[in-house]
Structures are given as structure tokens and as C-alpha cells.
């Protein structure tokens, strides 16, 4: 039997505090009538010194708000801090990320599976 799939946070260190997740979740909950992060099922708490952003997830385990397989909060998360998966995969992704950020400091900012490195290199004639 496969494990339960739900959204999870890879690490608070990857959260930029952008609140895309909060904002889009509220939009879908309101059936597209508007944006109201207050009503969202995920909230980002920024600690008083601004040192860390901590996502708090209060949604039902099975999200109803999916788009092409991913809930909208995951789709819109720019860093890859949020993922939609089961416990086992989450653990292996966490280990993967820990390793990646040791090897390449860019992965302090994003996850490697969302943005496989290297990206298309900068071509001067495209500037």
C-alpha cells in the first residue's frame, strides 16, 4: 500500500517568506473571487528578528486544489521549499538537498530537483 501523499516543507531554511503559497491557496479557496491570505490553509510565520520564515500547514491531508498533479501552493512556491509527496520520498529529498547545499552554495536558495543544474548558460548575444 502506498503512503499518504500530502504537502510538506523540505526545510524552513528554503522558505523565502514570499507568501505565494498563502496567497494562491486563498485564491483557490475563494473560487477565484480574490486574494485573502488570512483565510489560507498555510501561513508563513516570520520570526521577530526576520531570521527565519516558518511555514505552518493547516490544510486537510488531501488537498482539493490541484493543478496538473500539484496543489497550487506547491506549483507557485518559487524555491521548491514546499513539496507534495509521501513521507518516504520527503526524507530522501531532504537528504538530497542537504548534500546539494554542501556541494554547491546556490542550493541554499533553491532545490535541485525543481531546477536541475546547470541552467541554460548566459549567452551574450541574447542580452
Amino acid at each position: 500500500m502506498s503512503a499518504l501523499i500530502k504537502i510538506a516543507v523540505v526545510s524552513a531554511d528554503l522558505c523565502s517568506g514570499c507568501r505565494s503559497c498563502e496567497t494562491w491557496c486563498s485564491f483557490v479557496l475563494a473560487k477565484g473571487r480574490g486574494f485573502r491570505p488570512e483565510e489560507s490553509r498555510i501561513h508563513i510565520e516570520t520570526d521577530p528578528q526576520g531570521v527565519l520564515n516558518i511555514p505552518h500547514i493547516n490544510c486537510l491531508e488531501e488537498c482539493q486544489l490541484k493543478h496538473e498533479g500539484d496543489p497550487i501552493c506547491v506549483e507557485m512556491c518559487p524555491t521548491g521549499c514546499l513539496i507534495y509527496t509521501d513521507d518516504e520520498d520527503l526524507e530522501s529529498k531532504r537528504a538530497l538537498w542537504e548534500q546539494a547545499r554542501q556541494d554547491q552554495p546556490l542550493f541554499r536558495l533553491i532545490v535541485p530537483w525543481k531546477y536541475p543544474y546547470p541552467w541554460r548558460p548566459l549567452k551574450r548575444d541574447e542580452l
Binding site: 507568501r19 505565494s20 496567497t23 485564491f27 473571487r33 518559487p78 541554499r108 531546477y115
Partner: protein, 641 residues
């Protein structure tokens, strides 16, 4: 009346009487000027005329959000506007979350009027708005102010705009400081300090309504493709996010744009490579509200050694740009400098260019130790740089003169030092290198808000070869994007100003205007229409940008600014970039200005918009105002530097 996008409400706060009121937003103004930067100037034009001096009771301070603020397009952009101490438009944008919270609280604009007798701060939590005593906040740095407000209100997610010591002490271009190292509005901090408004804190829990949700979502997904590292066709998106600091310094070096040693040189040795920098200082990502770029903003920290424990957020490429100007090769000093400026609400550009000017004066023997409180002031002396910054903040000794801004300081010192005071209309240049490129020179010269690259800077044009042939562009990209020729710059710079005025009024971050999103405005129009329920076409949309810029021009014209004020520092006009053999701009500036004014429908002699131009944009009120004041008949020649 039901509003989508716009909250439909304006909050007015009179600091002299303590009266707080709300009124309905003018629908006509909203349609004509969109929001944020555009709406701000529409209100300022009507309410603060030339008879009001910058430090008079009657000057106002306006904080504006726009119709798309609070949606993921808004990115927390706020525009702050006032009559600058030097009488032009003291306007500036900042990111973060403040403005999104203002929309959730249900306001498009906050207009602050008159002055308080004793320091106060303003609290906005939805419909609960109150002025509170700020005697315990005054004199504290901005980060302390934020922390005290958070503690006092018990609202963890509250966002705060505040002034620091630079604003309280009326430094010339003090800025407004927002939570988490966002800041903007040079000169607005000065007026905010003058009004004794210590802080404005805001938290909202309401909804920003969207007229057509499905259309908006589809338009957003389309927009988002430009910023997703996997789908972007803009080569700058990955490099911006991860290699910015030194990759850009390399690019600037190659082109001779760097302002090294007060722009005496066009080359500067990089300090660390990107991986080393990232490894040493960057801790994690930190973004504005719903910014789709994964890592434009990052939190850095000095982990050990000198200034250990200093943290901050970096957006864009501040480090690459700041260090060359004063010639220092130490990241810890640059980081510390930024932290000092953010805590004091001191404009980094004012500090850097004033100190760089003083260093040049010192090295040339124009000033000596008897002027500088006994200090040696030479390029590359990182400690002296920080000491002088602190003196500016405290207005101590020589710092008191530099706090006046570099133009005024040069006037006081004289002896030809005006020649290397890098400022326009009384506001210093920016860190953003803009040396001797043609569209850069024109863009800088004609700005209604002084040096402010967000109004016109074209750093990410699409490759002309990738532009579809059937696209109807208001300029020729093959000519216009060439930085070393004056060809077609009038039409290009007009487009840049108008398009950016739109994006800053929606608002969105100007870094979003890149590649095709910088020239094809249909995606922006669809976002605007689907959100607000408006149904104007593209021409109508672009015209809003043109209207905003014309009203901004009308504002400074009414204050006495004329063609002669649209200029750039003599160093750029007259001196080559030696290392690259790049000739100075010289007479080409005046040629490009002729071109620009003509394309704009402004009088070439005076830079005043013509009657038919204003009428064509629906600015009949300005025409009446100009007639009443005899603006077209006046023979004033400007000369505001």
C-alpha cells in the same frame, strides 16, 4: 459602487489635528492613473501646489498601493511621494509586504497631511486606525522601531514603514525604511522626519477582489513562465538569481560603466567570485510578497571575523555597485555600511557619492584635514568610509555638511569641486552604473524624480533578432538598443518611461519588465483587465503611462523646472572613460533632448508640455491650471541645481 483590484478607499491622516478620515477613491483618477505611483502624483498635483514649500505644513506625504497590489503581481511594491526638499518629485518605490498589507486592510492610498507637534506613529489594522505617541520610538534605529511596534501591538505579521536618524535629522535624501531591509523614497524620509511621523504600521485581513478569476490565473501562469528557471527565455533570469554580484561587475567592467573612484575610472577589480561570495555570506532566500524570482532577494550574514553577526537582505547587486565608488575591497565593510544606512534610513547613494566626492576633494587638495575633522579621506580607506557615514547620520563635524547632499556640500566648499559632485536636480546618482551610454544619459537627464533608474533603465532588452517581425514597436530596436549612438533614443526613452510608469502603477516590480515583457504589453494588459474588470485596449493602456509621465512633468514645470534642469553631471558630459576609450556624451545630450521633447509633444526650448499634448491625454485640468498661472508665458529658465 463595487471595486475589483482597487480597494476603493483613501485614508487621510491630519497630523496637526489628529483627524483621521476615509473617502472613496476617485473612479476617474483610478481609470486615468491606475494606482500607486500614478495615483500618488494625481493627488499630489491637485493638493500640493507651487505655493507650498517642501517643509511647509501644506506639503503631503503619500503612500500608494495599486489595483494589482495584494495579488501576486503586486510584489508588495509601495510608492512613496512628496514634494522633495529640492522641489521636484520626491518619489520612490520599495518592495517587501507593507503595501500588500495596506490593500488587505482596505486602502489604496494613505495621505499624510500637516505636521505633528510631538513624534507620533500611525497604526492601521483594517478599519482600526489610530495615531499614537512615539516619544519612545524617536531616536531609535529603524530595526528597533519595527521591533517595538511589533511588541506593542502583539501582531507578529505587522509591517512597518519608518524613518531613522537620517530622516529625523533631516538629511537631504533620507529614505523611508520598510520591514526587512526594504527602503525607498529618497527625500520622503526627510519630509516624514520633518512631520515627526516616526512610523506607519499596517496589517490587513480583508480580500483584494478579482473580477475574472479564471482569466487572471491563466494570465498569471503565462507571465510566470518568464521567471521559471526551466522555461525562461531570458538569459538574465538565472544569472540574476545566482551569479549576480560578480557576473554583473564583469559586465560593467567590460563596458566601462563602473563608477569607480567617484566615476573617475571605468574599471574595478572584483572582490570575490560568485561561488565564494555565496558560500561565505548568503544564508537563505528572502523575497518580497509573491515574487516569482526564486532568489533575487537573499539574506546574508557575516558569520565570523570583522562585524560578525551583521545581517541584511540583498536585492539586486548592491555589492558589485557600491564598493567601486569609494574604492573599497572589503565585503564586511560594504555589508556593515548597508546595515548602518538601513538602520538610519540614510540613502546609500547620498552617503556614497558625498563621501566619494569628499575623497576626491581630499586627494586633489581641495579640502584637507582641517575640513574633515582631522581625518585622512582617501579612496579605498574602508574604515574612514564607515566613520564618515556615521558622522553623516549624526550630523557631526564634516558629516553635517555631507548630510546636505553632495550638490549643496560642493556649493559650500566651492573651489571647482562642483565639477565632481555627481548629482542631478539635487539628488545623487545611483550605484547603478550608467557611465557614458547614450540612452542612459538621456534617461537620467529627463527624469522628473532625479536619478532613479527604475523609471527608465533598460538593462534586459530582448535580443532584437528574437522580436517577431509583425510586432508593432514604437522604436527601431536595432538602432535604439545600441548604447554608443544617439540614434532613435528619443522614442526609446519615451517608451521606457511610459512602460515603466504603467508597471510601477499597477504596481509590479520593474525587474519583471524584462525580455519580451519589456516590449510586449499585452500580458500586462490582460492581468490588469482581468483583475479590475476594466476592458480598455492596448493603446488606451499605454496612454495611461504617457499620461502619468506628462502629469509628473507638469508637476515639476509648475515648480519652475525647465530644459536646463534636464542634464547630467559634467563628468559624464565632458570626460571620457579612459580605460575603454569611450568618448564623453558632449553635445549629443542636447541633440537627444531635442529628439525626446519633440517625440513627447513638449516645447523644445522649455521642456513644457504643449497645450494640445495635454488635451490629447485628457489633462484639461492641467491646461487650465497652466493658463491661470501663466506657465506658458513665463520666461523662467530653471536652474535648480
Amino acid at each position: 459602487m463595487s471595486w475589483h483590484g482597487w480597494a476603493g478607499r483613501v485614508l487621510r491622516v491630519d497630523l496637526a489635528t489628529g483627524r483621521i478620515s476615509t473617502e472613496e477613491l476617485s473612479m476617474q483618477k483610478a481609470r486615468d492613473f491606475i494606482g500607486c505611483r500614478g495615483l500618488n502624483v494625481a493627488y499630489l498635483y491637485d493638493e500640493v501646489g507651487p505655493e507650498v514649500g517642501p517643509f511647509d505644513q501644506g506639503n503631503k506625504l503619500i503612500f500608494g498601493a495599486g489595483p494589482l497590489e495584494g495579488t501576486p503581481i503586486g510584489m508588495g511594491r509601495v510608492s512613496v511621494l512628496t514634494k522633495h526638499p529640492n522641489r521636484f518629485l520626491g518619489e520612490g518605490g520599495a518592495g517587501g509586504h507593507w503595501s500588500a498589507e495596506l490593500k488587505f486592510a482596505g486602502y489604496d492610498l494613505v495621505i499624510v497631511e500637516n505636521k505633528a507637534e510631538r513624534p507620533v506613529w500611525l497604526l492601521i489594522v483594517d478599519d482600526k486606525v489610530e495615531l499614537r505617541d512615539a516619544s519612545h520610538l524617536w531616536g531609535r534605529d529603524t530595526k528597533e522601531k519595527h521591533a517595538i511596534v511589533r511588541e506593542e501591538t502583539g501582531i507578529a505579521g505587522i509591517h512597518v514603514a519608518s524613518v531613522g536618524m537620517a530622516g529625523e535629522n533631516l538629511a537631504a535624501n533620507a529614505k523611508v525604511q520598510f520591514t526587512l531591509d526594504h527602503s525607498g523614497g529618497k527625500g520622503c524620509g526627510t519630509i516624514m522626519g520633518d512631520k515627526k511621523l516616526a512610523a506607519v504600521a499596517v496589517k490587513g485581513s480583508g480580500m483584494v477582489s478579482v473580477a475574472h478569476g479564471d482569466r487572471f490565473l491563466a494570465a498569471y501562469r503565462n507571465f510566470h513562465k518568464t521567471f521559471d528557471l526551466n522555461t525562461t527565455r531570458d538569459a538574465f533570469v538565472p544569472s540574476w538569481s545566482f551569479n549576480s554580484a560578480n557576473m554583473l561587475l564583469e559586465l560593467f567592467n567590460e563596458n566601462g560603466w563602473v563608477h569607480a573612484h567617484n566615476a573617475q575610472m571605468g574599471l574595478f577589480e572584483p572582490m570575490l567570485n560568485d561561488v565564494e561570495y555565496m558560500d561565505k555570506y548568503v544564508v537563505r532566500p528572502e523575497s518580497s510578497f509573491c515574487c516569482p524570482l526564486p532568489a533575487c532577494g537573499r539574506r546574508y550574514e557575516i558569520k565570523e571575523g570583522l562585524f560578525a553577526g551583521t545581517t541584511g537582505d540583498e536585492r539586486e547587486v548592491g555589492f558589485a555597485q557600491a564598493a567601486p565608488i569609494v574604492g573599497i575591497h572589503s565585503y564586511p565593510h560594504v555589508i556593515k555600511f548597508r546595515d548602518m544606512c538601513n538602520r538610519a534610513g540614510l540613502d546609500e547613494d547620498q552617503a556614497m557619492y558625498s563621501i566619494a566626492w569628499a575623497m576626491e576633494c581630499y586627494e586633489r587638495g581641495v579640502i584637507n584635514r582641517s575640513d574633515t575633522d582631522g581625518m585622512e579621506l582617501r579612496f579605498g580607506d574602508a574604515d574612514a568610509f564607515l566613520t564618515m557615514t556615521d558622522k553623516i547620520i549624526r550630523r557631526e563635524g564634516f558629516g553635517d555638511i555631507l548630510a546636505l547632499g553632495v550638490a549643496e556640500a560642493a556649493k559650500r566648499i566651492g573651489k571647482g569641486s562642483e565639477r565632481f559632485a555627481l548629482s542631478i536636480k539635487g539628488k545623487e546618482l545611483e550605484r547603478m552604473p550608467q557611465r557614458n551610454g547614450y540612452q542612459m544619459a538621456l534617461g537620467l537627464a529627463v527624469s522628473e524624480g532625479g536619478p532613479d533608474h527604475t523609471r527608465w533603465y533598460p538593462p534586459y532588452p530582448p535580443n532584437p533578432k528574437t522580436i517577431p517581425a509583425d510586432m508593432d514597436l514604437p522604436f527601431d530596436p536595432f538602432k535604439a538598443f545600441k548604447t554608443r549612438s544617439p540614434d532613435d533614443k528619443g522614442r526609446l526613452v519615451r517608451w521606457l518611461y511610459d512602460s515603466r510608469a504603467i508597471v510601477e502603477s499597477l504596481p509590479s516590480c520593474v525587474y519583471m519588465i524584462r525580455a519580451m515583457l519589456g516590449i510586449d504589453f499585452r500580458p500586462w494588459l490582460e492581468l490588469f483587465n482581468s483583475c479590475t474588470g476594466e476592458n480598455g485596449d492596448l493603446d488606451d493602456f499605454i496612454q495611461k503611462g504617457t499620461r502619468i509621465v506628462n502629469l509628473e512633468r507638469a508637476y515639476i514645470v509648475r515648480e519652475g523646472f525647465r530644459r536646463a534642469d534636464d542634464t547630467i553631471p559634467r563628468r559624464m558630459l565632458e570626460e571620457p572613460v579612459k580605460e575603454h576609450n569611450i568618448p564623453p556624451i558632449g553635445d549629443n545630450l542636447e541633440i537627444m533632448k531635442d529628439d525626446y521633447y519633440q517625440v513627447r509633444g513638449w516645447d523644445k526650448e522649455t521642456a513644457i508640455p504643449k497645450e494640445e499634448t495635454l488635451l490629447g491625454l485628457g489633462l484639461g485640468n492641467v491646461v487650465e491650471d497652466f493658463k491661470r498661472r501663466g506657465i506658458w508665458e513665463s520666461t523662467e529658465e530653471g536652474g535648480h541645481e
